[in-house]
Symmetry: D3
């Protein structure tokens, strides 16, 4: 089940405004000035590779901000599975505006569809029991959009920012034990999710006992993971969520599938997701 | 020869401010509140993989904006070649601030070093005669920083925005021939670089004849490229720059090396550059 | 136990910048021009009424943005209990700047100390078992600062925004039952706090059974509240947090104290908190 | 006579944009995601207490920014006197958007109607001869909106910022006498209103003689005020405006009514105005 | 007597930030990259023509924002009378930064000194009795800085914005007479300056009688102006300020000098002030 | 041939938003409040002097931002030659909004038409062979709009920012010779225009030989210019563009016309262009 919530509209508008400003420069598109102002054009967004679509809200916004007389029609929606050759949408209007807006629209579409595609690859490598999360390793300024793209790819979202949830790592502990850290987090921030990063099974046991909502198993082998899952499920807080993280790839993640973990998280779907190749094909009259 | 020009300071400041805002959220770092305010920490930025460093200005700025009492010392500079294990820099100050700023600083370092590393891979696959350019396929809001990272990786920069240079593609031509397009571009925008995208040798000949500063050979085979280079060098404007673009990878770019082209351009070094793995290791007292 | 986390620095800076811009206008302080530029002044922030201090970060920032040569020294910190007459801090510098910055600094101090003072009044009317939360009924543009002031007053913070936690109210349910809503929220947003607003004990039972992290008892009498607390504590998820909300005042909240509820929430401490009267007394040479 | 001038449109837009950004967070409304996207809803803004309406421009803007497909119809206008139960307006559209925007719209309406209601209470406690002014003790970032709400409540506005008028207080004088201060203010800022804060009748006489446009009687008793009014009206500049300020409440202000003062000013109507309770009632099909 | 109030600091910072952004572009100063990073330079700001200095705060800010290691020392202050050849200030630091910041600093200095110089020319053409005001015909985005420059040139400032004062022109009147307009303005906006634009002596009489603070004599001949001055001074509100406006030049304004008008206003000192020629001379070692 | 490219839309929107904010202040137009809200008005933009029109996009945007119910119709377009009395456009809507927006719209129109008019005067003083360029001596914050106005006046644009082209001046050279500077610029920034400022014919020869795209002849006499033109045209890179700069006026530029220079550049058309007098005439019913 995918969440269909779009990214907040103002975040789309701000990201697109920045992208247009950086692409147009002070004079606008010098090359477009070669085209007669009255020439009209129609062009199709076409997937050049198979993947999952995301970022249509940004592409729409790009043309809306650039020239309100450009029409954009979308044939499929965020989350759609694309084949190489799928016509995703069509844009029509003054040719100058179509060509000037092309790259801004595509830069969002290609990156965010790349995120969605990478997410889907992890989702498909797992069974339905284990969900895919992004991390905070996102591209600066694009986090909210990347999170929406993760949802489009069938993933779910981890915390939105440092002020949403508590995630206790080794570095936070100092002289504090895990149990004290969880207790103190509960006192300070009642009602928030509390997660503990664990490197050993004993830590998992302690964290669950202390009442953590999630435990993150960091850089464990599938066997270690399976052991921790059994440990949690057999305890008195079996609903505690188990997140697996660290060095996961589409190839090695399948080994996690059978362990019964609830969640895996990976920066491969945001920070290192290759762009999905989408192009804009101008129709020739 | 690498350009040592840093990205403009205000662009660094703005990008970092956005990243901090999106990572901190309204309350700040809930987890850092577990740490006593007076605890001090020192940590090292360490490369986990070999690569080329970029983005130090952003990492410095991240801590400066977050907490002016944090000190950051840098042991190597942008453009440095890193081995797995190289200690890049050291950060010291209130432990809360060190941990809160860690991810923002790393997100810039990892992405921009990823860009520099990918650029360097292309540079190393070519000979010194052929330079590496980025394209406009950059991540929205990060273009200026990515361009600086390309320079750190040994590449050079293509136009900064649509208002810098003229780049005539097939879609701009309509009923206008290449020669007329170049002539008109010269009239409209005297002194600007004028480039023409060419798919066939005849177009190259026409473009050079018309006085283009650069010709872009799009999706040609190495043989076709070599033919075009010979054509240009044998003509009466042999200094015309020849840029090769389209589908280049670190693997196939070597075949371009021998052709004598001046420049290659690829989106693989920006839009699809995987993050370089850099971490922050807290020193334990 | 109070959280000592300051509001994020950039949010302080932005709020103060807006306040200075709106108070200075295009010309600056016309009246300050009557004072010779070289006149120096020292003044004390003095509480005119008893209360709890908050907002010192904003007051410091106001003078820092206005004139870096003004020194501000603070004698007590956010969270301090003030008597009428307590000298809170001292500001010294060019008299023009001291007087021009006075109102901006005080507007933050008085409002945020008003929030802290109102929070403390609720805290003091309850026993240590029951904590005080703000709601989303905050003053537009000031939420993060008000949340920090709530912490200064001894309260704890509810969700920072709509994207932190799930809070299911009657209006969200439609044809969905409470149990289905909780289950679906868990699927969509794993690891997030899930709260259900309940108007009747049966709803509480259902919500707890479905695995809610918190139940909000809306507009119930103390007896009803006590009944719900017993219900929850006697069940198999006794750690579920119980929040009491709706129409609470410093007077009537004491009746909640004995019920065993974990949390009360009220808009009286943000949207309707009267300013704490703090003034700036210029020392006469 | 009330001024019907709306707050400047761009200030409404900016304040609303900030409020939406702080309420939505990076992901938007997690809870709204439980509602099917196609569900439509209609809801009424209803006054829960008697008061005076203000802030409708902000409420309209909130929904316009959030989702242009939401319709808002307003049954009464800013300045309208509301009874408990008055239906103020109706909003209809996608239920998700209606619920997501509810709190932002209400936070403006409740605070600004609170300001208008408090203003009206002072207006009603006085006779028509004496007008009600706000002070600079406003909530940071909301001043222009609060000033419009003061007008909606039947008050009039004091200076918009420090650069509008000259208001000489004791702290500005130093070695300068009142007469010299007024003369110098006239020279520096011709055509601006010049006001002098006075604590004694002699100061009033001096200020009027020197040509002040307004005198502010600070913390005087009704008898002292009446004496000053007589003094001014009997002099040769009887049209000088007399403003009474300091410690006024709805209760004690009536004693000013008979004194003949032109204006009273109070921070109680801005900084300390309690929110007017307005709710949004979803219609059940 | 000149007002020595600087323009508000945040307005200087914002205007300079915009100027730097538009001058640097995404890559920064391509040409400065030719200079070795370690080369140091010292340069002098020198007036190439006689005039009056303004804008030093902007020039300082330009270098401060660009590179904090650049030192700027100012030998004279805003308002100083410059001869051709006067050395105004000295800047030293990394040569790259000195040259990159040169134009931004000079663009402010030259325009604002042009405003001050033009203002001074009007001031000098009048006698001390008649003061010089700017109008609202300012360059968009630069009004506050231009107003400070007018003060530097010995002028005084008219209203800062439409929300400071009331200025009734023919177009505002409709069916309302001047007397009713003034009365209504007094009711709506107590304490504000009220000015009436008059084209005939009868209007002046009416406006003064109605209690206007200022009358603006629009496009009258010196004789007509002198007549209006006599009319006002002989009446019972002789202190009413008389402003002369419309088509004034440095040449024809002298004829106004003898009329006894209090103020003249002209757009020639803002919108049409030619830049004062100031250059930056690099010292050669 | 004039370039018909409008300034980028977002730059128009931002400049207008700043202008409205600075003109309206916190309360809006106090004087407009005298006009009944329902009064409608129609007014014509009329040229009071002959000139060339520019800035219509800004005028349209001003009313659109202020009040969407105002209609603006434009009878001529940017670049049109206006006689004194030409009716440029018509605006109709609520009279309050028409009058409130008048000055903002006119400030853009008058300044930008002033730029276009000054540009046209230079264009007309030259022959078609020699084109007119602006310099970087533009008014801070208005550069992009001024560049569009230069195009409207028949000029062409020099570099948009420091990151577009390389322009080597004496100060950049240090120990580097011109030939080395050009070579290094080519290496660092391939494809960019490279220009060299020259004060003597030998420098011109060196620069052309080194492959500069443009040479700027700084402060040369017409004879010297003609000599340099002959030198370049007789060489082996005769297409090198020759720009003449320094101390040009409409009067003395004619002497350049016969020299065969390609371009002249002058700050007189931006920084020192007097406003074109355009007014708004309200139609009387």
């Amino acid at each position: 089940m995918t969440v269909d919530l779009d990214p907040p509209r103002h975040l789309v508008a701000e990201a697109v405004a920045r992208a247009i400003a950086e692409d147009l420069g002070p004079l606008g598109d010098l090359t477009a000035a070669l085209i007669p102002a009255e020439t009209h054009g129609v062009a199709d967004f076409v997937a050049r590779r198979a993947g999952v679509l995301a970022g249509t809200a940004c592409a729409i916004e790009a043309f809306a901000q650039l020239d309100a007389s450009v029409d954009v029609e979308w044939h499929v929606s965020d989350g759609a599975v694309l084949d190489a050759g799928t016509v995703i949408g069509t844009v029509g209007g003054p040719l100058r505006s179509v060509l000037t807006g092309e790259r801004t629209a595509l830069n969002f579409l290609c990156h965010l569809s790349g995120v969605a595609t990478a997410t889907r690859a992890f989702v498909d490598a797992l069974d339905a029991k284990t969900r895919v999360l992004e991390t905070r390793k996102t591209l600066p300024g694009l986090r909210a959009l990347e999170k929406a793209a993760v949802r489009a790819g069938g993933g779910v979202n981890h915390r939105g920012s440092l002020s949403d949830m508590v995630l206790v790592k080794d570095n936070h502990l100092g002289e504090l034990g895990i149990a004290d850290a969880v207790r103190r987090a509960r006192e300070l921030w009642p009602g928030r999710g509390v997660e503990v990063e664990c490197e050993r099974a004993e830590q998992v046991a302690t964290a669950v006992e202390a009442g953590a909502d999630l435990v993150m198993l960091d850089n464990m082998t599938p066997d270690q993971i399976a052991g921790c899952v059994r440990l949690v499920r057999a305890g008195n807080r079996p609903e505690t969520l188990i997140e697996v993280s660290g060095g996961l790839t589409v190839e090695n993640v399948a080994a996690v599938a059978g362990t019964g973990a609830d969640l895996i998280s990976t920066s491969a779907i945001t920070q290192s997701a290759p762009a999905l190749d989408i192009g804009l094909d101008l129709r020739i009259n």
